[in-house]
């Protein structure tokens, strides 16, 4: 790591400070401002009272004179928001675990068992990753109606793995590939079964990959929108993104305060999770693209 640092520094000392301010710091500051401003705007709006929110003459829109928790209070106690949070957590956690379980076995089989045709299965898993939900949601909706799963959390738990498994399998295949074959051969000679090898040798070595795949899958399911919008209609079964968009904006007057609070609260869990696992996230993102 230290060596890499040195390498990146490279020829930077050749450029003077004023030049660096113009070519690097100012553009970077503008980038950061634009990328982060909507979050600031969300946060500041969510603690404004209605009097301040719609009065740009007497109050500066960029600041809040008298912060209020009324929006959060309203959201948590006078709307089904807590239900939506619970649904989102439940659906995300369960579908993430199902996908991880299925992906670990699939990735190991494709990468290490090398059964007949495993190459083609690996390719089709990658192709499956490229199938966008906006093509699948109509036939899936027809299936969900027919199976009697409409308006249930199970509909989401069963359909989310369709985009999670390809992603996780692809990511884990990359991790498994980096584990030396010799480790496995030694264990095979010592009489270990494939299952034992997978559980006791491969998985402990692939923990970073499992974390990457797990938190990425969790975020993807937390953020999922089109399936949840299509397969769910009752308020108490909705997920946060769908609930906020469909239930909090009905009517003639938009309650921007509670809308922004809903958006902020719904973003916080993934943002917090992300802050703990930044490196795993980046590894997951770039890993999926690199292969």
């Amino acid at each position: 790591m230290a060596e890499e640092r040195q390498d990146i520094q490279g020829m930077d000392y050749l450029t003077s400070l004023p030049r660096r301010v113009v070519t690097t710091y100012i553009p970077l500051a503008i980038f950061m401002f634009v990328l982060l401003f909507p979050f600031y705007w969300m946060a500041i709006t969510s603690i404004k009272s209605n009097a301040e929110l719609y009065d740009y003459e007497h109050f500066s829109p960029f600041w809040v004179a008298q912060p209020t928790l009324a929006n959060i209070e309203k959201l948590l106690f006078h709307t089904p928001y807590p239900d939506w949070l619970w649904n989102t957590v439940l659906v995300s956690v369960v579908s993430t675990f199902i996908s991880l379980f299925a992906s670990v076995f699939a990735a190991y089989a494709i990468e290490r068992l090398r059964y007949t045709g495993s190459r083609y299965v690996g390719m089709s898993i990658f192709l499956a990753y490229l199938v966008p939900p906006s093509i699948l949601f109509i036939p899936l909706a027809a299936m969900v109606y027919r199976l009697g799963l409409f308006d249930t959390r199970l509909a989401l738990i069963l359909t989310y793995p369709t985009f999670l498994i390809p992603f996780c399998t692809w990511l884990l295949m990359g991790y498994f590939k980096s584990i030396p074959l010799e480790l496995e051969e030694c264990a095979l000679i010592d009489g270990a079964s494939r299952l034992q090898i997978l559980v006791k040798i491969i998985l402990p070595l692939a923990v970073p990959g499992l974390i990457s795949a797990g938190i990425f899958a969790f975020t993807l399911s937390w953020n999922e929108f089109i399936y949840a919008l299509t397969f769910i209609s009752s308020s108490e079964v909705k997920t946060v993104p769908v609930g906020v968009v469909t239930e909090l904006v009905e009517g003639d007057v938009y309650h921007w305060g509670s809308l922004m609070t809903g958006a902020l609260l719904g973003s916080l869990p993934v943002a917090i999770l992300y802050s703990f696992f930044v490196e795993h996230y980046v590894a997951g993102m770039t890993g999926a693209v690199k292969e």
Binding site: M42, Y56, N223
Partner: protein, 310 residues
């Protein structure tokens, strides 16, 4: 007796262990079943539904190409095709240029670099539907902060109707999409940039290359393979985008921002015409394939031009 039993059990487990194909099949079972039932089957079902007049709650009859024939004469459909291409092309170009620029900026020696890189990804991490709501508020016709600032600076005199005017609405949704997509492009390209050895830049500098020439003749060629992959993904996600449009405009005003995906949803789910919606979704496939082929091979082509393998 017990000895024999253990032996047969052992040999059964042993045979299972030896047979890669059988074990492979067992290991593939959970993933394979889920994907076959909920991905492969619906793909086929979608194509079939496109040939029927199925509605919600009513199993339709086979009507051949009727859905596609009516789409051919449907001006809203062609408008949505136009919108989808406009949205994809413009947003992808901006995402690529801004993402590459941001990646190059972040690849330099900077204070708080890890922190900057971490918070920069936030737009990509949070649910799109929720950040789209923030943009909705930013684009509000009466309380838009952008309009307010521009008026205060004296650049405009009245509030901009961001989502009410067709072309303005198109620009607004593209800006929101670019905002969300830039971090993904930047972080992926940054990973590619970090693999380029610094010594190449030093060699180029010694040969008298300017910083633009170093970028043009060292960075870009070495980055091309990863650019091709990243932009293919970016095009794929932009082309099939749904949430942003659904939240910001629902396809309006006057269908000016309807993408093929949002039109398929509108016809298929609230409209109840599952068959027509499915036909619309299927109609996306050839366009989507063309867009992917173009971005992948169009960018990848340079790889073999430079003597690399395909």
């Amino acid at each position: 007796m017990s000895q024999v039993l253990t032996d047969t059990r052992m040999s059964w487990v042993g045979r299972l262990n030896d047979s890669r194909n059988l074990l492979g099949f067992l290991f593939m079972l959970p993933a394979g079943l889920l994907l076959l039932v909920f991905l492969t089957y619906p793909l086929g079902l979608g194509i079939w539904l496109g040939f029927t007049n199925t509605t919600i709650g009513h199993l339709g009859d086979f009507i051949g190409l009727e859905n596609y024939r009516s789409l051919m004469h449907d001006t809203v459909f062609w408008l949505s095709v136009f919108n989808t291409f406009l949205y994809t092309i413009v947003a992808s170009i901006f995402k690529f240029m801004l993402g590459l620029w941001l990646a190059v900026l972040l690849n330099q020696r900077l204070p708080f670099k890890a922190f900057l890189r971490a918070i920069m990804l936030l737009p990509f991490i949070v649910p799109t539907a929720l950040s789209a709501i923030a943009f909705w508020w930013i684009y509000d016709s009466q309380f838009s902060i952008i309009s307010w600032v521009l008026i205060k600076m004296g650049w405009i005199t009245k509030y901009i109707d961001f989502l009410g005017d067709p072309n303005m609405a198109r620009a607004s949704v593209i800006v929101a999409n670019v905002w969300r997509g830039v971090p993904f492009v930047a972080i992926s390209l940054l990973a590619g940039l970090q693999t380029i050895p610094q010594s190449l830049y030093e060699a180029a500098a010694l040969d008298g290359a300017s910083s633009w020439q170093r970028f043009r003749h060292v960075t870009l060629p070495l980055l091309t393979p990863i650019i091709a992959v990243v932009m293919t993904f970016s095009v794929l996600f932009t082309f099939t985008d749904f949430q942003l449009i659904y939240v910001l405009t629902r396809g309006g005003p006057l269908n000016a921002t309807h993408l093929m995906a949002t039109l398929a949803f509108q016809r298929g789910i609230p409209g109840g015409q599952l068959g027509e919606g499915a036909a619309l979704a299927v109609a996306m496939v050839p366009f989507l394939l063309a867009a992917i082929m173009f971005s992948y091979f169009g960018l990848q082509r340079r790889k073999w031009q430079q003597g690399g393998r395909d």
